[in-house]
């Protein structure tokens, strides 16, 4: 029997690691990977809650999250590719066109 707190904790830790990755890293591709970690953390929590409440809704929501993750990855890659073509770099420090 897995205590729900353990599942929540695990999800939260993965989520936090992902969030830290997004903030700290400057490499665009690794930032995208960290985003995947974020979504994975959320999925763990959803699956855990679905198990806890004995409802299929957890899995259904997690599936929608996966669909979103796929979309995000596809668009993200397209952006990375066109950005790279444009700037010849993935360093986000070069990506400051919005600077005021």
């Amino acid at each position: 029997m897995i205590p729900i707190e353990a599942v929540l904790g695990l999800g939260l830790i993965v989520f936090t690691i992902g969030l830290a990755g997004v903030l700290v890293r400057k490499n665009l591709v690794i930032m995208l990977m960290s985003l995947e970690l974020l979504l994975n953390g959320v999925n763990i929590i959803l699956a855990g809650l679905g198990r806890h409440l004995n409802s299929p809704r957890g899995s259904i929501f997690a599936l929608f999250v996966i669909i979103m993750a796929v979309s995000e990855a596809a668009v993200g890659f397209a952006l990375v590719l066109s950005y790279f073509r444009h700037k010849k770099s993935y360093d986000t420090d070069a990506l400051n066109d919005l600077k005021g």
């Binding site: 969030l19 997004v22 903030l23 700290v24 400057k26 930032m31 986000t92 420090d93 990506l95 400051n96 066109d97 919005l98 600077k99 005021g100």
Partner: protein, 665 residues
């Protein structure tokens, strides 16, 4: 099993529309489209044979639940669980309709291969045509109003697409829009009728509605309202008074389209729908009378306009309106089987006439004006022969299909005791015979009046067009014998077949009266044909010219279609403009006046203010500007342009909100 019937046209439309339009040769496109129509027809025949053998008169096939059950509170305070299935229903009525739609559709598909041979958008045309067939089949096979509505809207859409097929032509694009918008009005009635039925009965199922009506679960007034609203939908789709104006304009579409959609199938959808809900209409009584009178008046009214048209296709368009009026007349006197019978025979001879007219137009390189035809008999003899068959059939000459069906309707009208309807029907028949033979004499007889441009390429149509015409001609002759009335030694087989879906209707007429009625209508038809001969052949149209000279106003009124288009324009389009102009006037006079007055006042005040302004306010304003400048140069630093800074801001914001929640609550 019968679900295969609509499946093939859908596949054909998908293949031609998605793949064929880019990658197929003309030949492949034609084979795909005609093949789809042919397979569909084969499936329809197979399903029909199955129905004849089967002991069960109604087959219902539910694919899945379309809208899951939800509670609906009906008028009586009952809570009904309304669920909508994607379900199809195959009974004798649907069998007749599918056979007509796929059979005539197949012939028209074949004909189109020849007719559209030189068109640029060949694949698009066939994709639309297949899609139309699919939608029409969904309409006739739908087991509830929801599924029917899909088809109902689908055929409307395809009609729009095909009328405006040559969309670079302004008139065609406008005609498509007109058809679509006019139909919208009717469709709205259809939806409201559906809504009333849901509210009153909590069901949209054909079987459910019929059972509820026959079980007496519906108040008479509600039934009348629902039936009339549904009939409004029918007037839109079937071009009856008051929503008929789109059909003549719809002749801008290619001729096979006119034949398939605007003669044989789609415009008869209203007739089918009324027959489908015959229990509702019969129960209401009032609605049935409205149907009969609308049909009868439309029959005569449209026929008078057919007398003066000079465009060969428009004559046929008015004739279609008139003939559908006759069908509604039959339904309206309770003779549902007779109405459906006329629908079937009409589908044969009217699509024959349209296709033959198309053959004439094709021969004359696109000329449609009958004043520039004449004497075509010796140039296109085969077309002439089939056209003559169609004209004889529609005029009600004994032995051809139109005679039996029209006569059954007239006999039923007479038997119902509604002599006004009968008289109008007879008048319509007479006018029909007259203008059809006017058309024949002007087109095929007399001196040749065509222009050199249209005459130089004069030729009989290729076999791919002529063979469907000849098949249709055979059907137009012999199609009526399935419903040979008892008094002529037939078995009225058609009515007996339809008994399972539209009930029985006995015309209680003595055999002698029935024979007499037949003789009257035959006499009227023959007299009208002779009159046309006398006017247009013997005296070369001289009486017609003199008549139009003498009664100029009347002639002009009729030839301008009773100014109904103008009236609709004035009332509906003009109404919108007038409202706009009124708003404009209010805007200019009242609001602008107020504004101007206020401005004058303001100017005076402002002169005083200027002094104050220059001394005090300017400095303040400049000061504010300076503050903004300084603040913004500080704030600008926030916009670093680095992604992680923005991300950090988001996370900090989230942390802040959660902190708030943790500390406050």
């Amino acid at each position: 099993m019968f679900l295969l019937i609509p499946l093939f046209p859908l596949l054909g439309a998908a293949v031609n529309g998605l793949v064929g339009i880019r990658f197929f040769s003309r030949r492949a496109v034609g084979v795909t489209a005609v093949g789809a129509a042919g397979l569909s027809f084969a499936a329809a025949v197979a399903a029909f044979a199955g129905l004849l053998r089967s002991a069960e008169p109604v087959l219902v096939k539910t694919l899945f639940t379309w809208v899951p059950a939800s509670l609906v509170r009906t008028a009586g305070g009952r809570a009904v669980s309304l669920s909508l299935d994607l379900a199809f229903r195959y009974d004798s009525l649907a069998a007749v309709m599918t056979l007509v739609v796929t059979g005539v559709g197949l012939l028209i598909h074949i004909y189109s291969v020849g007719y559209m041979a030189h068109d640029r958008s060949y694949a698009r045309f066939f994709a639309y045509l297949n899609l139309f067939t699919f939608a029409m089949l969904i309409l006739v096979l739908g087991a509830n109003l929801g599924v029917m509505f899909i088809g109902w809207e689908g055929v409307g859409l395809c009609s729009y697409l095909l009328i405006g097929f040559w969309f670079t032509k302004d008139a065609a694009a406008a005609a498509g829009k007109k058809a679509f918008i006019t139909n919208r009005v009717g469709d709205f009635g259809f939806l409201l009728g559906t809504g009333i039925l849901i509210y009153a009965l909590g069901t949209v199922d054909i079987a459910g509605i019929t059972a509820a009506v026959e079980g007496g679960m519906l108040a008479k007034g509600t039934a009348t309202a629902a039936a009339l609203l549904l009939f409004l939908g029918a007037t839109g789709k079937s071009a009856q008074i008051p929503l008929y104006t789109w059909l003549p304009d719809a002749m801008e579409g290619p001729t096979p389209v006119s034949a398939l959609i605007h003669a044989a199938t789609m415009v008869t959808a209203g007739v089918y729908m009324v027959a489908r809900f015959h229990a509702l209409f019969s129960f209401s009584g009032t609605a049935l009378t409205v149907v009969a009178l609308t049909g009868a008046f439309t029959a005569v009214y449209a026929a008078t306009m057919g007398l003066v048209q000079t465009d060969i296709k428009r004559v046929l368009a008015y004739s279609t309106i008139s003939q559908i009026g006759t069908m509604f007349m039959g339904l309206g006197v309770g003779a549902y089987a007779a109405g459906m019978f006329h629908l079937v025979t009409h589908a044969f001879f009217k699509s024959l006439l349209f296709l033959a007219a198309g053959s004439v137009i094709h021969a004359l390189s696109g000329e449609q004006d009958m004043r520039k035809m004449g004497g075509l008999k010796k140039h296109v003899p085969r077309t002439y022969r089939v056209f003559l068959v169609g004209a004889l059939a529609i005029s009600g000459v004994p032995g051809l299909s139109g005679f039996f069906s029209k006569d059954e309707i007239l006999a039923s009208a007479f038997a119902s005791g509604n002599y006004l309807v009968w008289a109008l029907g007879l008048a319509g028949a007479a006018l029909t015979a007259f203008y059809m033979f006017r058309l024949i004499f002007l087109t095929f007889h007399g001196e040749e009046r065509f222009t050199p441009e249209s005459g130089h390429h004069l030729h009989e149509s290729p076999p791919v067009m002529l063979v469907p015409l000849q098949v249709l001609a055979v059907l137009a002759i012999f199609g009526g014998y399935v419903g040979l009335p008892r008094v002529l030694g037939g078995g009225a087989w058609f009515a007996r077949f339809l008994k399972t879906s539209v009930g029985v209707h006995e015309t209680h007429l003595p055999a002698g009266t029935e024979i007499l009625l037949m003789m009257v209508s035959v006499g009227v038809a023959v007299a009208a044909i002779y009159a046309a001969y006398a006017v247009y052949v013997k005296r070369r149209g001289e009486p017609a010219r003199r008549f139009s000279e003498k009664f100029k106003t009347l002639y002009r009124t009729v030839s301008r279609k009773y100014y109904v288009d103008e009236a609709y324009n004035k009332i509906f389009v003009g109404g919108v403009f007038a409202a706009g102009r009124t708003a404009d006037w209010i805007d200019r006079r009242i609001i602008d006046g107020l504004v101007d007055g206020a401005a004058g006042l303001a100017r005076r005040v402002s002169r005083l203010a200027i002094f104050f302004d220059e001394r005090v306010v300017d400095d303040a304003v400049n000061g504010v500007g300076r503050v903004h400048l300084i603040a913004s140069s500080l704030l600008r630093r926030l916009q670093t342009g680095y992604i992680y800074n923005y991300a950090l801001a988001v996370v900090l914001g989230a942390a802040l909100v959660i902190t708030l929640v943790v500390t406050v609550f």
